[in-house]
Every structure is written in structure tokens, then in C-alpha cells.
Amino acid sequence: MSLMLAILTPFCGAPLTFWIARRSRKWGTFTALGVCLLAALCLAPMAPAIYGGAASIQYLSWIPAAGIDLTLRFDGLGLLFAQMILGIGALVIIYACYYLSEKDSLGRLYALLLLFMGAMLGVVLAENLIILLVFWELTSLASFMLIAYWRHDSEARRGAQLALVITGAGGMALLAGFVLLGQMAGSFELTTILLRGDAIRAADNYPLMLLLILLGAFTKSAQFPFHFWLPRAMAAPTPVSAYLHSATMVKAGVFLLARLFPVLSGTLFWSWWVGGIGLITLLLAAVIALFKHDLKGLLAYSTISHLGLIVALFGIGTPLAAVAGVFHLINHAIFKAGLFMSVGIIDHECGTRDMRRINGLWHSMPHTAILAMVATAAMAGVPLVNGFLSKEMFFAEAVSVGGQMRFGWFLPAIVTLAGIFAVAYSLRFIHDVFFNGEPVNLPKIPHEPPRFMKIPVEILVLLCLLIGIVPQYSVEPILDVAAGAVLQGPLPEHDLAIWHGFSPALFMSLIALVGGLLIYLGRQPLFALHTHLEGRLDGRKIFEALLAKILAGAAHITNFIDRSSLQQQVSLLVGATLCLGVAGMLPGPGVLTNLPALLPVDAVSLIMTLVLAAAALRATIGHRQRLTALILTGAVGLIMTLIFVKFSAPDLALTQLAVEVVTLILLLLALYFLPQKSPKESSPARRWRDGLLALLVGSGMSLLAFAVMTRRSTTISDYFIANSIGGGGGHNIVNVILVDFRGFDTLGEISVLAIAALGIFALMQNLKLKGLEQDAQGRPFDPDKYPLIMATFSRLLLPLALLVSVYIFLRGHNLPGGGFIAGLVTAIALILQYLTNGVVWTKKRLPAAQTHPLIVWGLLVAMLTGLGSWLFGRPFLTSAFGHWSLPLVGEFELASAMAFDLGVYLVVVGATLLILINLGLFRSSTAVREKKTWKS
């Protein structure tokens, strides 16, 4: 549980920090630091056991059926990463407080950093691979938002997009790889997978699976040829670069290699791919870094190069190389975070990061200069600083492994060459920035930054020195448990001493230092060559060209299908549905054979069918005469009601009747504002096409309906019929299904109704329409809007109608009726008042009929009824009922389902009134205006 807490703490702390930091930057910083501390405290009690070499697995069941559980793992590697994530995270938080200007939202940065922190903790503490992947993708998302932190900067937005696409695509590949790996191991749990290394390496799919996983790791850790997103990500604020893009997130890929090292490594395939890509990246990025004029660009390529170094170490695959890999991972995180922060200080003080303009800062910022120099020395691999130790282990491994291969000299040669360039770009960084003459045209006059801005850098530089000088006492314990967790076995002999005697590695270090100095001294011709070649092979350009092509292709397809004509779209849709329907019917055995006995046709049914057919056809053919078509449609609806009556569906008949009335009124009101006739605009060919489609759909539906009706009936309703009285306390099964058995569905349906009503309300806002002033023959409408006799009678009718609706509501549970129907009846009764007496008159007398609260109350009542069953420890919407007796009234039944039905009733009344009254209100206001013009 405590691991889960540690992961959740930053997630929960993020909104809190955001909220506080908006009010006070200082307290926001303290809150963010507090969140880090809290997360660390969650982990701290287990740390001693982990240092003792144990691993702790915590288990929370999630989707056991799919083998996915919230299992978390805390071992040496996780401990190392958790320390880096929380430690460097805390330093970055302090630093960001001074780095970010007053007008930028510190809260947003902190919230996003904390979100990232939680996600990254999730990655390193995951035991289940699928969980790991989920957090992995979350880090990509957090990185996306952090790179685009300065949203107004298009470069930042593009960089963020690039990073998301590359790492997101890698995540997809990783998911596929994990699924394959899970299938091979029979589990997604690391514990199981780590035990099945031999079987996995022998599996047929091993190369494919490895390739997919490597795609994920390499995109995340910016390995060649996916490295180009990282320099573009430097558009992020520098604290983000220091944290995500050098110390933690880009290490996730390496982390994965380390995590799965015992399972995946040890094959030729692994050595070639991981070692090869690592070496290429190491060398290539070191060379490019030398030529970057942008300070952060130089550091970005240096980061890529160092990541390549670590990847290469894991690729070499010997236990000692893995130890060196973990060691360099620690060192790089420390010195590179410090360097990024120094660069941020320089940027902050100078207003630019261009090394051609920043010179001679030694005089104005000596303190910062010393800090940066120590960190740079670590980057270059100078003795007494931490980078030297791991780099020398790397050199030693390169020599020892190279000695066992043909062309083995090749490996140390590449490694040394990369070392030379690392020294060269480190020298350039120090010499260009702090010496090399005077500053050129800086936007600001540089001086030392605020005291506290340097403290995080000082801590990191101190760590560099501590590890570099007394490694046994500083880094040895955590390195041992982390490397032990990577290897899942005994540690190889290794010695973290500074002096190993005159070994080949020492000579390689010396060659690198001297060679780097020489290259830097002879840099002018190299720079000229680079300017000449620049932009020839830019990964980003290729990517952007590819992206543009994909987008153009997608637009082409969209334009081909979507000609922005609704009619065409609908006909395509209908046509496609038709094809699917026909395809579904074709292969079946004759659906129309083996007919059972059909019900006999009686004369009344036949006549009503003919009337319905005539009305529907006349409405369709004469649809351009809108009023006629509307009235005929209403007639069809009424005959539908009769059909429901005939075939034993009294509830449906009542509902249909009420809805028919409401719909007709609504459409009549709407027609008032619309043209009365449709123009004749379809060509004959079009009409034939539409007619043919309609005919085909109609015949298909007829056939389908007939086939369904003549099938032997198997129903799931027996349960409802059997349990309606005993379980739901009602005789009307339809109503019991609605409010009890399927109450949750009904809750959804009334929510839809409420949303539709609110949508309609929104559509009606500020609507300006011109209504009719005269009829089709050009005669003006009668100005007397509310005929007296009708108004009087409708007022008399109201209580009666309301009584009927109450009756329908109350009997609904046992006889045809219920909330839906009663709601519609009430709505009609009220609408009648509005129609005959005018909205103003009615509103004055019926203040209670405010529609919005009605809908809200209805939803609340229904929801609370459902929640009420929780009080009794029952599932949501369990209904209860009982029989009571009152004097005079006698025995009666009360069911909680009736309260639910009341909610339904209120929503239906509210929604119906909201829809109709708004249109009616609108009509009356325009009508009043017309009346005035008529009189004048």
C-alpha cells in the first residue's frame, strides 16, 4: 500500500500545489517540496530492507481476468531511481522558483512537474508490465505539456508535438513488445518474467519482441535514429530540461533495459542491436555536440551521447558492464542536472544562450563558473570527479570485451574517439562561456544570481566531488543494491578506487583528454566544415515532411468521402447499412420457410393499415406542402397508438398518444418560423435514386420484421414476469422493468432527456427569427390570439387534467401508467394553458412551473433514491416496498421505486415544458410586436 501511496502523493499534490502557488509563490514552493518529502516518507520505512538486498512486492487486484493487477515492486533499482526522481525533483523545485519570471505561472509548472514525478515513480516501481506502460505513457504526456509550457512559443509547441509523436509511437511498439513478452512468460509480472529468461530467449518471437521493446526504450532515451526529438525539447523551461530531459525521463528507456537485462540480454541479437545503437549514438551525438552554438543544444547532444554510452554498456552485456552502466546512470543524472541548472542561470543572467555572444563570464559570475566547471569536468571524465570513474569502467570493459572479438580494436577505438569529442565539447563550453574575451552585445548585464538559486547546483556539484573522491563511502551502497537488482544475481568483482595503476583504461582517458584539447584548439576548420554540411541530414525535417504527407493523405481521403453535403452523407450511410443488412441476410437458411400459424387479419386492422399507408405515402410524396405533411404524420402517429392498443401494449399506447400531441404542437410552433413550402429542387434522377433507396430499405425492413416475427420466440422476460410482484412489488411488468429491474438504464435515459432539453435551451438563446404574418393566401392572421371560450374552458380543465396525471402516476406500478406517461400528461395540461392563455398570463399564475429546477430535482430524486439503497448495504437502485394502511384510505402500497418514478416524472415534465415554453415564449413576444404593427 505504501508504494501506491508514494505514487499517488504527487498526483494528489499537483492540484493542491497549483491552487496554493496561485496565491503565493513561496508557499507553492513549500507545498511542492512537502509533496516530495511526503512521497519520500512513504518509501523511507522500507529503504533499510532494500539496502539489505530485499525486494518488496505489493499487490492490489485490478483486472485479474486479464492478468493485469496493480502490483508494485520496490527493489534496489527502484530505490535508486526513486531517490533520483525525488531528490533531483526537490532541487529542481527550489531552482524553478527563482528561474521562472513573475508573469509565468509557477503553479502550472509545479503541478505538471509533480504529475510527471508521480508517473515516473510509477514507471520505476511497477511490477506489472502493463502498469509500467500506463505510467510510461503518462510520463510522455507530462513531458509533452512541460515542453509546451510556454504555450505562446510556436517552437515549444512544435517541439512538444515532436516529442509526443516519437515517444508515443515508441510506447505503442513497447505495448506490443510487452504483450509478446507476457505471452512468452505467461505473466505480466516481473517476478515471473525474470525467472523465465532462458525460455524467453529461446522463443521464436524473441527477435521481434526484443525489437519492439527496444523501439520503445530507444525512442524514450533518444537513441539514434530517434534522437532528434530531444534537442527540440530544449524549448522547455530549463528546470524541465534538467529534470525530465537529462536526469529522469530520458533514463526511462535505459531503466527498461536495466530492468529486463537478465531476461533479454545474453544473445548475439541483443549485443548487436543494443551495443551497436548505443555506440553509434555515443559517437554521433558527441561529435554534433561540439558544433552547437546554443548552450542547451550542446547539453542536449551531450545527454544523447551519454545515454548512448549507458545503452552501449548494457549492450556489452557482461555483469561488470551492467554495473558500470548503472554507475554512469547515477553520475550522469547528477552532473547533467547541475550543468543544466548552471546553463539556466547563465541564460537567466545573460538573456541569451548563444555561445558566440556569451564570453568572459568569469569576471561577472565567478561562483557560478566554478560550479559549472566542476560539473563539466565530470562530463568530460576528469579524475577526482564522478564522471571519471564510470567512464574508466566503460573504457576498461571496452578493452576487455574488445579483446575477445575479431576486429576487437574497433570497440576501444570508437569509445576513445567519443571520449575525445566529449572532452572537446566540454572544453568549448567552459572556454567559450567563461573566458574567450568579452561578452558580445548581451541583452542583460550578467551578475551572480540570487543565493538560493545556486544552492541546488552546489548540492549536485558536491555530490559529484563526493562520488569522485570517496566513492566507497558515498555511492557504493546504493550502486551495489541497484546493480544487484539489475543482475538478479551475485555482483561481479569491482573496485571503485580512483587509482587502478597503469591500465589501458588510464591511457585511453589520457588520450581522450589530450585529443580533446587538440581538437578544440584546431576547431576553426571543423566549424567551417560543419557550417557547410549543416541541414543536410536533419531528422526533424524528414519527420516534418513525413508528417505533412500523412496529413495531406488523410485530408485527401476525407475530401474524397465527405463532399460536405448532408444528403450525400446520409445516402452513403443508408446505402452502407443496406449492404450490411443484405450481406447478413444472404447466407442464412431460408428465413421465410417453416412459417408458424399467423394471426388472422380482421377488417378493422386492414382498414387502419390502409389509412396509415395512405397518410404516410401522402406525407412523403407531398412533403413540400409542409403543414399538410405534418398533419398527416400526426395521423400516422395516432394509428401507431391504435396498433399498440391492439397488440397488448397499453403503456406504449398512452405514451405514444401523449408524445404525439407534444410533438405535433412543437412542430407546429416551429413551422411558424420556417418557410411553409419546400422548393422543388431535386432532379428527377435524384428523386429516382432516393425512391429506390427508400424502396430497398422498406422492403428490407419488411422482410426482416416478418422473419423476426415468424421465428420461434425465446425471451429473457420470464424472469421479469416471475419476479415482478415478489421482487419489484408491482403488477405492471413494463413499469417495474423501467423503475426497478432496469432502473439504471432509465436513469441514463432521463439524463439524456435532461441534456437534450438543456441543449435546446442553449440553442434558443438569443434566437432571432421572423414569424409568419399572413397565411398562404396572403390574408393576415387574426390578431385575437387567445379566444375567450377556449381560454376559459382550458382553465377549467387544468385541475382535472392534473388529477388524471396524478392518478396515472400512482397506479403506474400496478396498472398501465407511470412516471413517463404522467409526466407527459401534466406537461400537456400545462402547455394547454400556455397556448390558450398566453405565456405571460400563465407564468404569473404558475410560478412553480420553473422548468430548470424541475429537471434538476427530478434527476436528484431519482439519483438519491438509487443511492438510498446504499444506506442499507444494498447495490445502487435496489428497491424496497411495503404495504401500509391509513384510516379512511385503507391499505395501500409504497415502493421506493415510486420515488424513482417521481424523479422520472419531474424530469419529463421539466424537459417537455422547457422545450415547448421557450418556443412559445418566443412566439408570443414576436406576436405582440406584430400585433402592434398590425394596429398601426
Binding site: 396509415l612 412533403h623 412542430l667 418557410p675 430499405v697 425492413m701 422476460s717 403488477h731
Partner: protein
């Protein structure tokens, strides 16, 4: 009788589809209404046609299938909401665009 109902379902769906393909919003709304009649009736008919046996217990011996009825009951109400939304949308389009063509512009 089944043949009659099947024909009615086909007729209503066909008429609905024809109107749905027209160029003016009001026709489309009418088409939606007719199509929902057809579909509702189809859903209802999946419970088979039963005469004189409403699904109210203690009144009948073998009640008609109540489940399609419950489905259709909510479908009718939701259908009303949909019709209302569509017609309001067309009113809004008429107000904003000055015409009632489904594509928002006169051809």
C-alpha cells in the same frame, strides 16, 4: 396480421428514409419521426404480436413480452427529445444562415 405489421414497418422506414434524403430541414425532421415510428414498431414486434394479453399481472394468464415494451417506451420519449433537438437546430440554422437547406446554404 404479421404480414400487415411487417408491411407497415417497411412502409414507415421507407418513407422515413426518403424524407431523410431531402434537402430541407423540416422534411428531414418529419423523416426522422416516421423512421422512429418504423423502428419502434420493429422493436415492439420482436416481442411477437399478442392480442388481449397486456403485461399486467393478475389480469391475464400469459402476458405479452414486457421487455420490448419497456424498451420502446423509453425509445418513444427519447425519440421525442431527438425530434425536438433536431427541429430547434433547424430553427437556429434558419435564424443564423437565413435558409433551411440541410447544408446551410442554398444550392
Amino acid at each position: 396480421m404479421e404480414i400487415l405489421i411487417a408491411l407497415i414497418i417497411g412502409l414507415l422506414s421507407g418513407c422515413g428514409v426518403y424524407l431523410l434524403l431531402q434537402a430541407r430541414t423540416f422534411s428531414v425532421v418529419l423523416g426522422l419521426t416516421l423512421l422512429s415510428y418504423g423502428i419502434n414498431l420493429f422493436l415492439f414486434a420482436t416481442g411477437r404480436l399478442v392480442i388481449g394479453q397486456p403485461p399486467v399481472l393478475s389480469a391475464v394468464s400469459s402476458p405479452a413480452d414486457p421487455l420490448p415494451q419497456a424498451l420502446v417506451l423509453t425509445a418513444i420519449v427519447i425519440g421525442f427529445a431527438m425530434t425536438a433537438f433536431a427541429i430547434m437546430l433547424s430553427l437556429r440554422a434558419q435564424a443564423e444562415l437565413g435558409n433551411d437547406h440541410v447544408d446551410g446554404e442554398q444550392p
